[in-house]
Structure formats: C-alpha cells, structure tokens
C-alpha cells in the first residue's frame, strides 16, 4: 500500500493480535518484539517524507523522518519497550492492548507530516491512554479517567478547530513551524493549535489533569503515561512554535509553581507528577528561546527526562507493588528490604537533579547555557532556583522518604526480576548518557559543538547541589527533634517553622475556600441549568412527550402562518 509501513500501524496490528495469544509468556514476548520491530522500520530510513497519499484533496504524509522526529521516535520506542517489560507480570489484556495502542499513537503523531494525521493520532493517544486509568476498575479511577478523557478530547477538538481555521486561511495542512502573532481573527487557527498543544503540555492553569490522572493509574500504567503524552506535546511545540517568546515565560512559570506543591505533597506518585510539570518547564523555555542550542537542549532533555522519570516512577511503582502504598507518611526504611530498587531510585534521583556524570546534567546544561547565551538573566535565575527545587522534591525527598527516614517496620521482598531489569535498562541509559554525552549529542537535530564537562559547569552545579542538600539536611535535622529544639530556638524556629508555614497555610486556605465557593457556585449553576434542560427535554418534558394530534396540527398552523407572513413581507 505505502512505500514505508508506519510504525503506528505495527503497534496497532500488534495490539489487534495481542488478545488472541492465549499463552501469557508468549504474549509478553510478542509484545516486547513490537517496539523493536517498529524501531527497525525507521532506524535506517533516510530523511524525507514517506507514505504520502491524497485523501479528499488533502496531502497526507504518515512518515516524515528527520532528525527531530527520529530522536523522539527512538525514545518513544525505548520507553514502550521498558513499559512493556516493566508490566511483564500484568495479565490484564485491556492494559496490554491500551499500552501498545497508546505508544503506537504517540509514535504515529511524532512522524505525522500533516496536521490531519497529527489530529488523528492526537486523539488516539487520548483514547488509548484513558484505559490505563480505567484499568484500576475502581469508581474513583473511573471518574478520574472521565475527567482526564474530557480534557484530552477537548484538546483534540480545539486542535481540529484550529486545523480547519488554518486550512481556510492558508490552504495548507503541512505541519511546519507556525508564527504565533498577536491574537486576531486571521490567526485564530494558529492560536487554537497552540492552546491545544498547551493543554497536552500541561501549561500552568491547564495542568491539573496531569496530577489528577497520573497517580490514579495502575502501577504500570503510570510509568507508561509519564513517557508519552506530555513529551508528544513538547515535540509538537518544538516542531510548530520554536522561538515563540511567550513560551519562555510560560516555561519559567512551569518550572517554579509545582515546586511548592511537590514539597507539601504526601503521595509520592503525585510528587513525581508535579515534577513532570517542572521538567516540562525547562523544555518549554528551550523551545521559547529557539536557538539551535536551546532546541537541542529541549530535545536532549526530553530524551533524558523520559528515561529518568520513568525510572523514578518504576521504583516508586515497585515499592507500591510490594507495599501497596505510595504515601510518604506510610513508607520509610525500605533500604534493607529493597536495596536494588533503592539504588535505581537514587540513580534516577541523581539524574533528575542533574548531578555531573548523570544524564540530567548533560541535557539541562544545554538549556541553561542557551538561556545565558541569549542574555536572559532572569530566566536563567528562575531555572537555577527551579533546579534547587527539583533536587529538594525529587532528588532527595523521593528516595529519602521511601527508603530511609523513619523505619515503618515494613519488611517486604525485593521487586520482581522483570521490574529490576526494566529499571536497570533505564538506569544504564541514565548513567551512560551522563558519562558519554556525545552519543546523544550526535543525534540532536542541530549541529552544535557543546562541551558539558567544563570546570565552571561542574563546579557551579556541584555548589548548587551541595548547598541545596545542606539546606535539606538542616531542615530535616531540626524537624527531627522538635521537642528539644523548640524551647531553645524559639524565635528562629518560629520564623521558619511557624510563621512561614502559617502564612502559606492561611493563603492556601483562602485560595482553597474561594476556589471551593466558586466551584460550588458553578456546580449549583450547572445543576440548575441541567434541571431546566431536563424539564424541557426529559422524557416527560414538552419537547419529548407524545403530543395530542390537535396540538401537532397547531404547530403546522403556526409554521404555515409564519411562513406566509414572511413571504408576504
């Protein structure tokens, strides 16, 4: 049919066959071969657009291979492989099919050369992924999934609207860089596309679906979810809106605001979800700066981020798999029971905190350098502050509260072997990229000569990390001995432990109250509206009940009268 088979079709075909393989081991092996097979389809392709055909006078291209789409295709394939491997123990066919379809749709979207194909896969990721949430089969998960689906589908609908407007304006459906001017009727389409990308990318105020949905998925589902949707949005932004200045400020805000939420959050999977926001912020800033160095940074960071974030989710997931909880207050002291998981978790934590010799360092440096090169001092500063925040909530908090802190006395088995292997692969990449970044740099979309390991980079990063670490240690130290220290350090203590938190708490309570009042009002209004709608349209409402013949005829008379009146006017 086409000159090149789209990898998305391989995933779809695999997903269609999966339920019919009855032997569980065979099925898992079959599923593992699919990412490899799909990868082999585009591994050796030269740059260009393949699988081009005409549909209703629209130029459709299923496979656009260039450096940008290739590297995202590659990392999505790796992520799909790791997700499937990590879920080796799962016997639920629904999750298996959904995982394959979801990964395939994401890869299909990455290779889309036109906006229509992008839209189709965009919606497909939404629909396939929601089953990973519903797979928990609890009422709570059902409602969370519905909320998630509504937001994701809305993003697709807005995208479709934008595409149609854009098509009307320009007559082109190609998916290339767009210019986001000031808002006007002429470029309403471009704005709609931008907002659709923004929803999937969890821009501030459009972000709540992420923290809502990801922690609600199954243990393995969260690992899968964390890899694709938001990074697909990053890809779409990098492809469509590089150098859009607005993105710099959006990204900066994204790096900052989740830190506070993450710091006070108890559910570790939700902490990691907030930290996705923060990491996406770095990438969005990179897209906004838009220089080759910055875009390279964004792509590299997305690549590394998928690996270490899934590594962290996998380790927390493994703990949850064994202990049944991911709440910080119920965990602790697990380093004796799950030492290998702990090591992997720390590798992930050091990567996300950008320790030298770990992958986060070599990718984040690119973005920081790009910001500095462009003279964006304030943005650079925000990113530095955000990096400290990352270290605090992801780098230290996650491993500390899970494996150390107070021992809750839980004695469980080490994670099962397939989870350890999956984590091992991710950890291998994290360290491998950190030690030998040239391999990653060679694949980046632009040729930029960049050396991450200069003395000044390493020293400044280490300073940053040490002081941030010190601060955390101090806090923990004081926090550990409240009775003894309270009397001695009353003023000082009170300042940072009572006043600040109570101000924060007061603020939070105020915001929470007004938010509740607003939502209650909105819900009340909605209820009233629905009652009115139901009164008119419900089975006994005037619009739906069976009318006596006489009143039917009355309508005819009314309409005839109106028509006659109109024609005589």
């Amino acid at each position: 049919m086409f000159d090149v088979l789209s990898p998305a079709l391989v995933y779809a075909g695999g997903a269609a066959l999966t339920p019919f393989i009855l032997n569980e081991r065979l099925r898992q092996i079959f599923m593992l071969t699919i990412p490899v097979l799909a990868l082999s389809l585009f591994w050796n392709l030269h740059e260009g657009t393949y699988a081009v055909f005409n549909l209703m006078n629209m130029q459709i291209g299923l496979m656009r291979v260039d450096k940008l789409s290739f590297i995202f295709g590659l990392i999505f394939s790796i992520a799909a492989f790791i997700s499937v491997l990590y879920a080796w123990h799962v016997k639920d066919k629904l999750q298996q099919v959904a995982t394959l379809l979801y990964a395939g749709a994401a890869i299909g979207a990455v290779f889309a050369a036109d906006l229509v194909t992008l839209f189709v896969f965009w919606e497909a990721t939404a629909i396939a992924s929601v089953f990973l949430i519903w797979a928990r089969r609890t009422p709570g998960a059902y409602y969370t999934g519905m909320r998630y689906l509504i937001i994701q589908i809305s993003s697709g609908v807005i995208l479709l609207g934008g595409i149609i407007l854009q098509y009307q304006q320009t007559g082109s459906l190609a998916f290339d860089a767009m210019t986001l001017g000031s808002f006007s009727y002429e470029n309403a389409g471009t704005w709609a596309i931008f907002i659709a990308f923004g929803i999937k990318c969890a821009f501030p105020l459009l972000h709540n679906w992420l923290q809502d949905a990801y922690p609600a998925a199954t243990v393995t589902g969260t690992v899968t979810l964390s890899a694709f949707t938001t990074k697909l949005a990053i890809y779409a932004l990098a492809r469509g809106f590089p150098g859009t200045e607005l993105l710099i400020y959006i990204g900066a805000a994204m790096t900052l605001f989740p830190i506070f939420f993450a710091a006070i959050e108890n559910n570790l999977r939700r902490v990691l979800s907030y930290s996705i926001n923060n990491q996406l912020g770095f990438m969005v800033v990179g897209i906004g700066i838009g220089t080759p160095l910055a875009l390279n940074g964004t792509v590299a960071h997305a690549f590394c981020h998928i690996l270490y974030k899934s590594l962290l989710f996998m380790s927390v997931g493994a703990v949850m798999f064994r202990t049944g909880t991911s709440k910080a207050s119920e965990l602790g002291g697990l380093y004796k029971s799950m030492p290998i998981t702990m090591i992997f978790c720390i590798i992930g934590a050091m990567s996300i905190s950008a320790f030298p010799l770990f992958s986060g360092f070599v990718s984040k440096s690119l973005i920081l350098s790009a910001a500095a090169d462009q003279g964006q001092f304030w943005i650079w500063l925000v990113l530095i502050i955000a990096s400290v925040g990352v270290l605090e909530h992801s780098g230290i908090k996650i491993p500390y509260f899970t494996f150390f802190a107070h021992d809750t006395g839980k004695r469980v088995k080490e994670a099962p072997p397939h989870m350890l292997i999956a984590m091992g692969i991710a950890a291998f990449f994290c360290i491998g990229i950190g030690v030998y970044p040239q391999a990653l740099y060679a694949m980046l979309p632009y040729d930029v000569d960049y050396v991450p390991y200069t003395t000044s980079h390493v020293v400044s990063q280490l300073q940053l990390l040490m002081f941030a670490g010190l601060a955390f240690a101090m806090l923990i130290r004081f926090g550990l001995y409240p009775p003894e220290f309270r009397s001695v350090n009353l003023d000082f203590d009170w300042l940072y432990r009572r006043l600040l938190p109570s101000i924060f708490r007061g603020l939070a309570r105020m915001i929470e109250r007004s938010w509740h009042a607003m939502t209650r009002l909105a819900l009340y209004r909605l209820d009233r509206f629905l009652v009115v709608v139901y009164r008119a349209h419900g089975p006994q409402g005037p619009l739906a009940r069976t009318w006596p013949t006489g009143s039917m005829v009355l309508w005819i008379a009314a309409l005839l009268g109106t028509t006659l009146l109109l024609t005589y006017l």
Binding site: L55, M56, V116, F119, V120, E123, Y142, V157, G161, I164, L165, Q168, V533, Y534, A536, H537, G538, P539, G541, L543, A544, T546, W547, T549, M552, V553, W555, I556, L559, L560, T562, T563, L564, L566, T567, Y568, L569
Partner: protein, 499 residues
Amino acid sequence: MSNLPALQIILPLMAAPICAMVGRPKFAWGLATLVAWASFAISILLFLSVRDGTVISYDMGGWAPPLGIEYRVDVLNAFVLMIVSGMTSFVMPYALKSVASELHESQHAYFYTAFLLCMTGLMGVAITGDAFNVFVFLEISSLSTYALVAMGAARDKRALTAAFNYLIMGTIGATFFVIGLGMMYMVTGTLNMADLAQKIAANGDSRTLRMGFSFVLVGIGLKLAMFPLHLWLPNAYSYAPSAVTTFLASTATKVAIYVMARFMFSIFGFDYDFQANTMQFIMLPLALVAMFAASTVAIFQEDLKRMLAYSSVAQVGYMLLGMSFLTQLGLTATVVHMFNHALIKGGLFMAAGCFIYAVNSSRIDDLKGLGRIMPWTSAAFVLGGLGLIGVPMTAGFISKWYLMQAAFELDWWPIALLIVASSLLAVIYVWRMVEVLYLRDLPEKNDVRAVPLTMLVPMWGLLLLSVYFGVSADITVSAASRAANALIGASNIFWQSGG
C-alpha cells in the same frame, strides 16, 4: 436498456399484489428480496449512465411532456434511487428473521406487500419529473407506511395510535402539498417540473405563487420531520417493526429532503427574493434548533429506538442546514449526509432490532451488560454511534466536514461552532449506550436469544460500508457535488455571479 426508468417502478409495483395474492410468507419474502435486488441493479445501471451529467428523459406511455408524464433521471435522483433500492436490498435479508419474531405469521405476506408498495412510492417520488406525480407516489408510500407502522401493534399496542397520528399528520402534509401544487398550477397552467420552473420565472411574482410556495414548504416540511413538525416521528419510529424503522429512517426522510431540494432549487429556483428569505429566516433557525433540541431530548430518552428517532430529527436538521446555506458546498453536504446518514442510521436501527430480537425489549435499562454476551451487535452499535458523532474515518465525519466547510465558506463560523457543539451532544447519548452495554453488570437472570446471521450480516454490511465511505469518500462526494451542481444549475440564482 431504454426502458430502465419505467422498469424501476413497474417491477416493485407489480410484485406487490402478487405477494398479497399468493399469501405465503416465504414466497412473499423471496419475491420481495428478488425485486429489491433487481431494483438495486437497475438503479446502479441508471446511476452509471447519468453519472457524467447526462439526463435521461423517459416519456410514460409515449406521451410527450409537458402534457404526458415524464420520468427524468439526473445524477441527483439516480443517487436517491440508489439509496432507496440499496437500503431495501439490505433490509430484506434482515427482515426475514426480524419480522418473523415481531409479527404474526398471518401478516407476513401483507407486510412484504406494503413494504414493496412503500418502496415503489419512494422511488416514484424520486424518479418522476411531474409535480403531481410526486404527490401520487408520496401518497402511495405514505399509505403503505401507515399500514407498516400499525403492524408494530403485535409487539406494542401503542403502534396503533402512533400510526393513526402519523396518518393524520401525513395526510395534512400531503394536503398542504397538493394545495401548493394547485396554486402553482393556477399561476402556470402546467405540472411538469421543467416546464414549471420556466413558467414561474417567466410569469413574474404573484401572491398566488407565494401562497403555493409556503404550502409546499410546510407540506414537505411535515413529511421530512422538520422541527417542530417532527412530532409524529418519534412514536412512529419507536413502535414500528424494526425492519420498517430501519427502512423508514434511512429512506423516507431522505426522499422528502430530496423533494424539498428539488422544489426549492429546481422548480422555484430563487427567481424572487422571498424564497431565499424564507429559507434563511425559517429553515436555517429551525435546523439549528433541531440539532440541539432533538439531540438533547435524545440524551434523556429511556428507549433505544426513541433515542435514535430523536437523533434522526437532529440529523435532518443538519441536512436542512446544508440546504439553507444556498450554496453549492452546502447542498453537497446535504446530499452526502443523506447517503451517509442512511447507512449509519440504518445500521443503528438494525442493531436496535437485534437487541429487540435478543431480549424482546428496547428499553435502555434492559440492555445492561449486553456488550459481554452480544459482542457483535454491541460493537456494531458503537461503530454506528461513532459515525453519528462524526469521528474521523467514519462517514459521519465526511458529512460534517463538508457542512463546516460550507459554513466557513460563507464566513458563518458561529454556525460551524454550533455544528461541533451539537456533535458533542451526540457523544453524550452514544456514550450513554456504551456505558450501559459495556460498563454495567449483566442482570443475574437473563434469557438472551442468539441473533441469527441473517440479521448480523446486513447490519455489519451497512456499517462497514459507512466506514468505507468515511475513508474513501471520492465516489459519494463527487456524485453529491455533481448533484448539487445540477440543482444549482437548474436555477438562475443570484449568487452564481457573486459566489
């Protein structure tokens, strides 16, 4: 070959009394099926020979028009003929088991007789070039439809009142229509459509003409269930036997839409301002109201067939909307949607019939959890539902795509937004069924009859076709576009120079 237009009508017309006279159910079914397929073959032949834009004119009994009755086949009515006979060919195999389970055996032969007559009437309406002939055939189809709806009484007695109401409303509609024809005859002295068009343009504006126009508009509006003249439809569709509902939903309203388009564009032809005004100030708002009100009513329905019936009213709204744009693109959307909706709604009502066959109920509450034991029917329903919403890769998407294009072409983007918004309502009522079928638990006590293949295969055939025409829409869209050209070209409308 040259007698094909006559054969198209004669064949079912002659077969109908034979069915009644022989009176054996199996024989009646066999003959009806055979005739349906033969008619389908004839309409395909006709369609192929007029596809390039030629017009076949056939003089009945050798009497030349405008005095004699003329059958006139252009690409538009060939397309409609194909929809009617094609749908009959799909419904016939389905009817065998469905009718056997829903009707007394004594009625079967009469059922097929009425069915054939109904089909004759609908095809006659589509094929004829004589305005009064349209009325005659419309009555043939309507009278047989009343009988068909009333046969639903074997399952639910309320079918009788539904049929009675339909009879009254349908008769009023037909009367209005014929009054309108009378006025037109007063002005022009002719009943041949082509002749009418010329004389209306030549004779000038007059009160009589305006009166005639209004009566025709309201009369046909009743037949095609234009909101708020749709009140007969939900009951008639809910209580008629499933095979009849399937057939009516996918052909009867479509033929009425065709008549509306034919009269508005070919015959009245927008020589005078009042026609365009009426279309845009009456039909357009009513179409929009139908899209929302009927869809919302569908959301709250407790009966599956009734829900689908209200959804039909909403879908008629889309077709009228495309027509009231008064542009080539709008008409294309209307004609494409006629075809696509026939496939989708036909498939959906077949699925409803399968549920009725299996659990002897179409109440949504009684269908809980059936997704697990009736996977094929349930999956078919979901597929049809997706088409109703207009998800890409289904036929419904093509219709909405062109409808939105037509709205954008006029820069009426608020209307385009309304089209999207009303599609979201369809998401809700389709989702409701998905939830009932798949997410609810099956009641402990259930006796579910297995649905026979003769019902499953036609249903899947229609729905797979709807997916096929959703992916490769070249055939339907090019035919619809030519049909729209034929309609627009027949009228000397003012926007031709401007657009």
